[in-house]
Every structure is written in structure tokens, then in C-alpha cells.
Amino acid sequence: MTDMSKLTLPADRRPPRGRHPKAPKTPEPYVATDELTTAVNLAIYLRRPLLLEGDAGCGKSRLARYAAYELGLPLYEWSVRSTSRAKDGLYTYDSILRLHDVQLQRHGSQETGGDDREFGRKATKRDPESPMEYVTFGALGKAFKEEDCPAVVLIDEIDKADIDFPNDLLTVLDDPWKFEIHEADEPPVQAKHPPIVIITSNKEKGNLPAPFLRRCIYYYIEFPSDRLKEIVDAHYAARAKEEKIAAPPGDLVEAASERFLRIRDKGDLYKKPGTSEFLDWLEALRGFRELKDVVQLLRDPDAKLIYPELLFKLRADWQRYARA
């Protein structure tokens, strides 16, 4: 492994003491190609969002966790839904709660809440005089408030949201990297370290808008056909530490990946299984039940496929292979 295949953070943006206390503690098993690593490094260097596309289950979201762990930075995940608005990622403001508190205060019974959230609403006794106590920061908002180093922000499945969503985000994810909290008379929240933004998309609603794409570094994650073995090794090396699980024997991995790739590359599947499905399948082959001659069965192209329910998720695919 040479240095260029490592994620690199410019020196002035590295966390003090090597790792941020909120950085992920458990390593994320991930095998990144050199080009993907370059893409992440470029995104970090140019302070632009990295847009990832690719088949489901090929490791788009996991890249953010991997980057956060490798660089020792805090990770904030934002799973976008169909109702998400761009503002939700920055903050939400609870005006009803404030109104409620004003009323209670006037009637003498001050309520105490046990809310020990770190950002925004931090007082156990809320003071309706100060609007900031009714502000809850979202993933981007938290990342903007990191003092010592940038945070990694994962905006997962951006295409799920309304079509205006990416454009609304654009103004925030650019110089001067600040946003205002309109409900409070506070100075705008200014990011000391612009966050490293990783965005995933499945293109469910067609292309993202052109101005948004123009800002992004784009990378298409392909199915890692030639790296399955490496991925399996990384995956089980990580699990061995936590759960004391032995890696599957080498001939099983080889036979399984051969069979898997043969089915996948044949090109007649409606939905191709991804890396995560392969790992699940391999885990089932390894430890679900004692099977005799698994390797033999996998190598025999005429034998019935074992555990097809893990690989085929559409009826047509199922009927073609599971029943064969």
C-alpha cells in the first residue's frame, strides 16, 4: 500500500491529538479503489461535495463511515426522506414547545426537562426568553459547529427528496459556509472547518439539477468483481475482532464468488445482487447450518443454488434460478 491509496486530510484541518473524540470507534471494513480514494481526497481538498452513484448495496453509504474512521473525524448521517427539506439538515425550531413553556411559566409551574442534548437545546430548564433553546441542529448544522476539525456528513439518498432539495442545499454547501437561524437573533452559524460532504444517489427521480452537479465531484461505484476476495477478508478481519468469528475457508470463498459472479455476469437478471447480498450469502453458507460438500455443490453448475432467497429479490429472477 503506497501513500496515494490513503485518504489524506490537509495538515491544518486535522483533528488535534490525531482523532476526534466523537470519531467512529469501530473500524469500517472497506476496500476502496485508488480512484475512489483520489475522488475523496479531491473533494476534501477542493471543499466540494462528493456525489456517489452506483447499484444498491455496493458500498455508497459505507464510504462515509470508512472515511470518518480513517481520518478520525466525527460523522453525522442524514438519511433523506421524501418529506425532508434542506433546512432540516441545518436545524429545526420547535415553536410550539416555546409557546407551551411561556404559558407554563406564566402560570408558575416551571417544567424541567431531562434533555441533555449536546447541541442547541441544552438547558434542563428551558428559558422561553432565549429562542436558541428551542433549536435542534441537524446533521449539517452539527458539522458546521465543529470547532477543531471538519466533520464528515453523509447525505444519504438525496434523490428521495423533493426535486428542489438539491438546489436548496447548494447555497449552504459553498462559500462562505454559513447559515442563519431565522427564529433567533443570533449571528449566523459560520463553519470554521467546512464539512466533508458525501452524498449518495440512486437516480430515482432522474438526474439531479445541473447547477448542483456542477459543484460536485462525481464518482460511480462499480460492482467490485475483481475485489470480492479482498472485501471478504476485510469484512471478516473486522468481525473477528468483535465477535470472534472465524473467516470462511478460502476454497468456500473462492467457489462462492465464482458462482456468484457467473450468475451476476450472465446478464439476464432483472435486479443484480450487490456486494452486501454477497456477504450475507457467504455468511449463511459459512455459519447458518452444517452443509455437506458446500464447495462441491457451489462448483457444480447444474446443482441447485443454495440459499437463493438471499440473492434474488424479484419474482422473475427467483423463478429462473431458485427453481432451476
Binding site: D3, T8, D34, L99, G206, L213
Partner: protein, 358 residues
């Protein structure tokens, strides 16, 4: 290749990409320069190719085109590497860090240039890279040339077709009313909610299908799908016809389930909008009086129901003269199917045409 050679190549590449229709601004060029200044693309042509692809390509399709354009630009600059750059030259500025763990506290002056995985050479002078071929519903090379309205802009434009009525569930907080009521009562009892607005627009889509419309099926499919699924329009009725509108209508795009015209128009009120989509003979250059007559009959009938009628023609306007489309365009506002034409058509459908007809 050093920095002084890399920049002209990037500039040339940038110009070529823009000419090919890529959406790139001067900011993208400057970003690439910044990266080169830091010594990223300094390694060789392959490193520059990778840099350009990451920075300037926004889809798999574009990345495939990019390879060709890059090859052309590199060849034009006469930097054709007849053999792979010798590793000694590359290694010189980029000493691999021996420590594999945490980077040293001393900042490296530059982030090391990237070195792409070496491929077999000797097959061709230029290292070629097969374009990635994932399973994406994207058009082939030939179909990409004609792209008048993107699916996304259809979704945007449909939004303007709305007739909001507050009759949804009562679940929208009326902040002003809540505060006002609390102030009047002297205490806050409950929040005031108001009804959610729903879109009561009604759209009837009559789509010409098959025959001369086959090349445009992609657009009509997108049009119907976006209107039905991705638009806020309350009610969308779709009916298909072949060539001449009033003959027969069908419920499905394969013209198998007949649908009487009365049924298709049953839900029409004066507030309903009717959009006809068809080439009206312009695709093949017909001027068929029979066709004009039956279209006229239909239009007269539709005009009794509503005035919000527009016709979207996938053929450009300059192909209409001399065909039945020219005649029909006198009877109904007809627009060519590009982004402008489509939004003008929607303006007519919502009763606020840009240029009211006298």
C-alpha cells in the same frame, strides 16, 4: 508531464468538453488548475485523465464521452505517450511515505500525484479504457442528440398547473392564529390547525401513439409518467389515440383497451385542462384534409367543455408549414415540444397564457 504542460491540456480539454455540451463554468477550470498547482495531476497523462473525469464528469454517460474527448485533446497537444511513462520520472517528486499509519505531523508539501493502476500496453498507442457499462436506463449514442424536454423540467413545469383548495386533513399549524388566540384568551389552550391545501387541478392528456409518433414515445411516456406520478396535479386522465383523435381512444399505450370519448371526458368541468400531444401530421409532412376535419370536430367538441386546451407537438415549429399541423395550429394553441414550448402550453392549461389569443 509538468504543470506548465498540464494546464494548456486542461484548458484545451475544458474547451472541447464545453463545445460538446458539458455544463462547466470557469470555476470548474480554476478548481482543476488549483489541483494541478498542488501537484496532483503532475504524474502523467493518465493522472490528468483521472482528474478531469472526477472533476468534470457528472454521469456515467458523460464519463464515456469524456474518454474520447480526452484522447483527442491529448493527441492534439502532441503529447501522445507512445510508451508508458517510465516509473523513475514519476517516482522522483513523489516519494512514498514509509509510515503506513497516521500521517506525520509535518505537512507534506503536496498531496502525492495519483498513479492509476497500470494496464496492459502495447495494444494501442493510447491507453484506452473501456467505458463503464452499468445497467442504467440511459439512451444510446444515437438517441441522445434530440433531447427537447428533460424529465426533470417536466416535473418542474407540471407544478405550475395547480388549483389549490384547502380541503385536506386539518394538520397544518397556523402559527399566527395560534398566537392571536392565545393573546386574546390570555392563556394558551391549544394550537390552531388549518386544513392542508390539496391540488384540485384536473388534466386530461390525449396522446398520439404509434406510427409517426414512435420516435417520440420516450417523451410521451415521460410526460404521462411525470404527470401521473411526480406531479402535484390532483387528477390526471390519460387516453391514447392513433393518428386522428376522435376515431378511437384507448386506455393504454398499446392501444388495446378501447375507451369511448364520452368516458374519457366524463370528468371534465370548465376548470379542467386538456393537453393533446401529437405531431398532427408534421412528422411525415402530411396535409390530410380528412385528418384536419376530424381533429377540428374533436377540438370543437372539447371547446364546449373547457377553454383550457393546448396542443404539444414534438416536431419543431419550422416543420409545421405545409402540413395539417399548420391548419390545426390555427384552431388551438400549438407549441413545439421544448422547454419553452412546454411551459407555454402549461400556461395555457392553467388559463394564464403569456400571449393571449385575440
Amino acid at each position: 508531464m509538468n504543470e506548465a504542460e498540464a494546464k494548456p491540456l486542461l484548458l484545451d480539454l475544458f474547451r472541447r468538453l464545453r463545445r460538446a455540451g458539458a455544463v462547466l463554468g470557469i470555476g470548474e477550470l480554476l478548481a482543476a488548475y488549483r489541483v494541478v498547482d498542488e501537484g496532483w495531476g503532475g504524474g502523467d497523462t493518465e493522472a490528468l485523465r483521472q482528474l478531469g473525469r472526477l472533476l468534470w464528469c457528472k454521469s456515467v454517460q458523460e464519463a464515456a464521452d469524456f474518454e474520447e474527448i480526452f484522447d483527442a485533446a491529448a493527441a492534439a497537444r502532441a503529447h501522445v505517450p507512445t510508451e508508458p511513462p517510465s516509473p523513475e520520472v514519476e517516482k522522483e517528486p513523489v516519494e512514498p511515505q514509509p509510515t503506513p499509519e497516521q500521517p506525520p505531523s509535518e505537512p507534506p508539501p503536496s498531496i502525492p500525484a495519483t498513479e492509476p493502476p497500470r494496464r496492459e500496453t502495447g495494444l494501442a498507442a493510447l491507453p484506452l479504457r473501456a467505458p463503464p457499462q452499468p445497467q442504467l436506463p440511459e439512451a444510446g449514442e444515437d438517441l441522445r442528440a434530440y433531447w427537447p424536454v428533460s424529465r426533470r423540467s417536466m416535473v418542474y413545469t407540471w407544478r405550475y398547473l395547480r388549483r389549490p383548495v384547502k380541503d385536506g386533513p386539518r394538520n397544518v399549524l397556523d402559527l399566527a392564529a395560534t398566537v392571536e388566540r392565545a393573546a386574546r384568551r390570555g392563556l394558551f389552550l391549544e394550537a390552531v390547525y388549518e386544513r392542508r391545501e390539496t391540488n384540485h387541478a384536473h388534466l386530461v392528456l390525449l396522446v398520439d401513439q404509434g406510427g409517426s409518433m414512435v420516435p417520440f414515445h420516450r417523451f410521451t411516456r415521460d410526460l404521462v409518467e411525470t404527470a401521473c406520478v411526480e406531479s402535484p396535479i390532483g387528477q390526471v386522465d390519460v387516453a391514447y389515440f392513433h393518428n386522428v383523435p376522435p376515431d378511437r381512444l384507448y386506455r393504454d399505450a398499446y392501444l388495446t383497451e378501447p375507451l369511448p370519448l364520452e368516458h374519457a371526458l366524463a370528468g371534465c368541468t370548465p376548470d379542467s385542462s386538456i393537453l393533446l400531444v401529437g405531431d398532427a401530421g408534421a412528422a411525415r409532412g402530411y396535409r390530410n384534409l380528412q385528418r384536419v376535419r376530424s381533429s377540428t370536430q374533436l377540438l370543437v367538441r372539447l371547446k364546449r367543455l373547457t377553454t383550457l386546451i393546448a396542443w404539444l407537438n414534438p416536431m419543431p415549429r419550422h416543420r409545421w408549414p405545409g402540413t395539417s399541423a399548420e391548419l390545426i395550429a390555427h384552431l388551438v394553441p400549438m407549441f413545439q415540444m421544448d422547454a419553452d414550448g412546454f411551459s407555454n402550453a402549461v400556461d395555457v392549461l392553467r388559463g394564464q397564457p403569456l400571449h393571449p389569443r385575440g
